[in-house]
Symmetry: C2
Subunit: 147 residues, 2 copies
């Protein structure tokens, strides 16, 4: 299964709900155990990012806050808060499909995991997918036009 | 009103529920608009930190994710994830009552706000309160004895 494409499907849901189109899935033992998309505006929640909502669902599914051996596929490079949450949930690996040079905390703006002394480190990999970035460009372009 | 003491009352609730005793209140226009304490274990939620739960409650109260002019009182220095969430919620100022040298991201382990290019910065102040640190020491001491 193309897990990044599953994350992209979630981003499309966000797009259709007029939210910044970012999607996420969490995989354990080759199964998708949680799916979520950004719902910041709808939920009036600064923490409504796709990764945060997906971590919550995965924890509920596993009945454990510790997301052991879980891999996260997210369409956009995570921000500081989300990298912090991924550390707290102790995920194994994070894949992201587009760079965020303005706010990405896995090398885009800066790399939070270069900080020594954190209580967990996860692996990560940027697997570039045009569609993950394009959907964001389209969204913000439409926003500018509709203003 | 002694807002840090209100946060401490929340930490005591966490203590009584066998959670790491950290408490938080959020203040706007000299009124406490949200109170929360750590519920990580009970909620099986890596994001169950006092600050995160308190931000959620404040957003619900204000019906807005943007916590404009809000001040946060928390008994322990916030971790990376919580500093990230406080940035995302765009709070005005954060006061904390005890240092966290192991995981604090406002100068304890390191200072995340020294990073350039973040999309928001808040003021912060360490107002040392013995009781905020002591309740944590007591909690972990008891944990060790009961093992």
């Amino acid at each position: 299964m193309d897990y990044m494409n599953e994350a992209y499907k979630e981003a499309k849901k966000a797009y259709n709900e007029d939210e910044v189109p970012v999607g996420c899935v969490i995989v354990k033992d080759h199964k998708v155990i949680a799916r979520a998309h950004n719902l910041k505006e709808k939920n009036n929640d600064a923490m409504g990012h796709a990764e945060i909502l997906c971590i919550k669902k995965a924890s509920k599914k596993l009945n454990d806050w510790y997301l052991k051996d879980c891999e996260v596929y997210v369409t956009l490079e995570p921000c500081v808060m989300c990298v912090g949450a991924l550390i707290s949930a102790r995920v194994k690996k994070v894949y992201f499909g587009a760079r965020d040079l303005k706010a990405g905390a896995l090398g885009g703006l800066f790399n939070l995991l270069e900080q020594k002394g954190l209580n967990h480190y996860f692996e990560y990999e940027y697997i570039h997918r045009d569609e993950c970035g394009l959907i964001l460009k389209d969204y913000f372009k439409e926003k500018r036009i509709s203003k």
